[in-house]
Symmetry: C2
């Protein structure tokens, strides 16, 4: 079978399954998720041996240590995946929720009922645990899923997906609900992105290059973020200890993720006290600073930042620092250089806290807390499918609810329009 | 200025205005809307004389009577526009609403705050009242708007838009909030659809040809419906009088609109009693029927329906009729030939009413009521920007809330992630 036929067949199977999946009971879905968790652990040995094939290939290809790290599955990682599935089983089922049922003057009862989107396509890189997470989130939200992982993890992904599919066979859930593209040929992605009759939503997860390629090729709506150039603004009224603790956490707790701080904005009236204390902590944590002229006047040893630095998503222990004259200048900087992802203010001032929350229109805006909280689990969504900086449909971390839509349902007793 | 520069300039102005508009108070917005209503009526004579220029051109071009009818503005039509603006002023402001503020175990308060989308582009045909409606809905929901009406209504649209813009000048609302593309050159649409940095959402309103052209060219997300192939299913348990009344209303009350019924599905066990009574009413209303073989067996005088009829959006006093063996066959027919727009069941059976509501995944599903209620005003949204059969972001009639998104807002007191 050629690639186009193969991918189209996958789309057909998923579309067929989606029609049935929307009405599978929560109990049946949860039971399947718990069974999947159990079987994943039971089949650890098999998964690890398939993963070893990917790792061997990765070493031959000379992939970086970080890449190999993200690719590696051991018993703990598999247990982590299983725990994730159990957590998703424990979350409330969004499907079928009815919101805002209201009576119209003519007696019609009008409500909105939450329904699955249908078929969701996921295109992702490296980490094979996404296979289990994404399949579980889609299953719980009543969606069929088409998984397309990176070629570097193909054996691990196939092993995991086959196990999940095997569990479906023992349930009343249609087998087609979990699909995986088994070829590593790149044309498969192109073909997948043309299936606008089969796939309702595409979610790409990976580097900016992958995401831009998906967006430019897709005929299907895409929810995505390109990058996270996240800011912390230390207002003049900030508690200095709190500002230091939050800035350190936002930058250094896990620098390689999208909700890590990339630029620190500091009010000039606090810079002289805050920056030296901060720089000391950053030095200990191994963070390299790049500063504007005013920053350099206070911290003479650091590198000068260039215009390009303000746009940069370092994903590393590097931080750009800008001293600003006012909250207005801080917010203007965020608007110009930001990515609509996540921004935080550290302040003791009521008015400035409210202005920052109201006027900064990034997908997550925090007062006196680390940007690292911009995450589905941390915000109480229970799980995360990804983060959207697209304003349509979902903005910010996406959980189960964001994988659904609503339809109007109307109860009448013979009403006609006059 | 060339067209590309002109449209880009419009986009720049709208984007600039959108940044300010998000924080304009409800009072200021409502006052502006009421003032616009007042000035539109006061300037009726001017609007009507500009409209006369469009009408003269339309007659020269030999446009159809229906087109000319939709294009015509008189005092009553202008009063209707003004009333519409007053109604939008009276609706609650969606911007700033905070939903689901919850406390996390670490003390973070996490909420979602409703914010405008930013800049909305509207591409529409014929009816010049859309100019006022769309501008008002966007203004109330805090969005800047770029209006692009059809060339046949250009003088009317410009006259209305200039009046609305004139009112803005006397308020603290940024003037750039209401933009209109003043050239009728078709390239302007192409250029507009490339402005993904300036426009957040495109809403096309008009015939299927216009909408398909917009979708194929746009780099910006589009909310739309191509057509409304709406069904009424008369179940075997239906009250025959109610079924006749609803079917007649759904087909004939206003046949040229997207929520009119196009195909009538009838359970075989009621067909012998229902169809003759129904046909009598349809005959009186001037409705032409096209039937399947089983329908023809009961109504021998009617034309035979072909496969193409089941896909047809007649927008006219023509109806396709299919007799089905079961509710399952009716729902399968809707899935195969439907457009995800609006479907109704007439039934006295509890289980079938629930199955239809649950299993038919069109954007509006009704029990014992006319499909004609699938409309923003009728469903209690207060106003309507259009209807979406795209599942992402909005599904069904779109009101003010559908012109917004939500961001996460988080109140902390120094929390960091561990």
């Amino acid at each position: 079978m050629d690639i186009k036929a193969q991918v189209t067949e996958t789309g057909n199977e998923a579309r067929k399954a989606a029609g049935l999946l929307a009405n599978i009971s929560t109990t049946v879905k949860n039971r399947a998720l718990l069974k999947m968790a159990e079987v994943l652990v039971k089949e650890s040995e098999h998964i690890i041996s398939e993963n070893a094939r990917d790792l061997e290939y990765a070493r031959d290809k000379g992939l970086s240590g970080a890449m190999i790290d993200r690719l590696t599955l051991n018993e703990a990682a598999i247990q982590g995946m299983a725990d994730g599935l159990a957590e998703i089983a424990a979350l409330p089922d969004p499907v079928g929720e009815i919101t805002g049922m209201r009576k119209r003057p003519n007696g019609l009862l009008v409500g909105k009922k939450r329904i699955p989107l249908g078929v969701i396509g996921i295109i992702y890189e490296s980490r094979p645990n996404v296979t289990a997470d994404a399949a579980a989130l889609c299953l719980k939200s009543g969606n069929a899923v088409i998984l397309r992982g990176g070629s570097e993890a193909i054996n691990s992904n196939l092993a995991i997906a086959r196990i999940l599919q095997g569990v479906l066979k023992e349930t009343s859930i249609p087998e087609g609900a979990i699909q995986i593209i088994s070829t590593t040929d790149r044309d498969a992605v192109n073909e997948m992105l043309k299936l606008e009759e089969h796939i309702d939503l595409i979610i790409p997860r990976g580097g900016e290059g992958l995401i831009r390629a998906v967006v430019s090729m897709s005929r299907i709506p895409v929810l995505k973020h390109y990058k996270g150039v996240c800011h912390v603004f230390v207002d003049e009224s900030a508690d200095i200890n709190m500002a230091v603790t939050i800035s350190l956490n936002a930058k250094a707790q896990r620098p390689g993720v999208c909700n890590a701080m990339e630029t620190l904005l500091v009010h000039r009236n606090i810079a002289g006290r805050f920056l030296p204390a901060m720089a000391e902590k950053f030095r200990e944590a191994g963070v390299t600073l790049k500063g504007c002229d005013k920053t350099s006047a206070i911290l003479p040893d650091i590198e000068k930042a260039t215009e390009a630095d303000w746009y940069e998503e370092y994903l590393d222990l590097i931080l750009a620092v800008q001293v600003v004259d006012s909250i207005d200048e801080a917010m203007a900087h965020i608007e110009k250089y930001g990515s609509l992802h996540t921004e935080a203010i550290v302040t003791s001032d009521y008015k400035n806290s409210q202005r920052f929350l109201n006027e900064v229109n990034s997908s997550t805006v925090l007062v006196n807390a680390s940007t690292r909280f911009s995450d589905g689990f941390e915000l109480g969504l229970g799980a995360e499918m990804g983060i959207s900086t697209t304003k349509l449909h979902a903005f910010g971390p996406m959980g189960l609810e964001e994988l659904t839509t609503t339809k109007f349902i109307i109860y009448g007793d013979g009403q006609i329009r006059t």
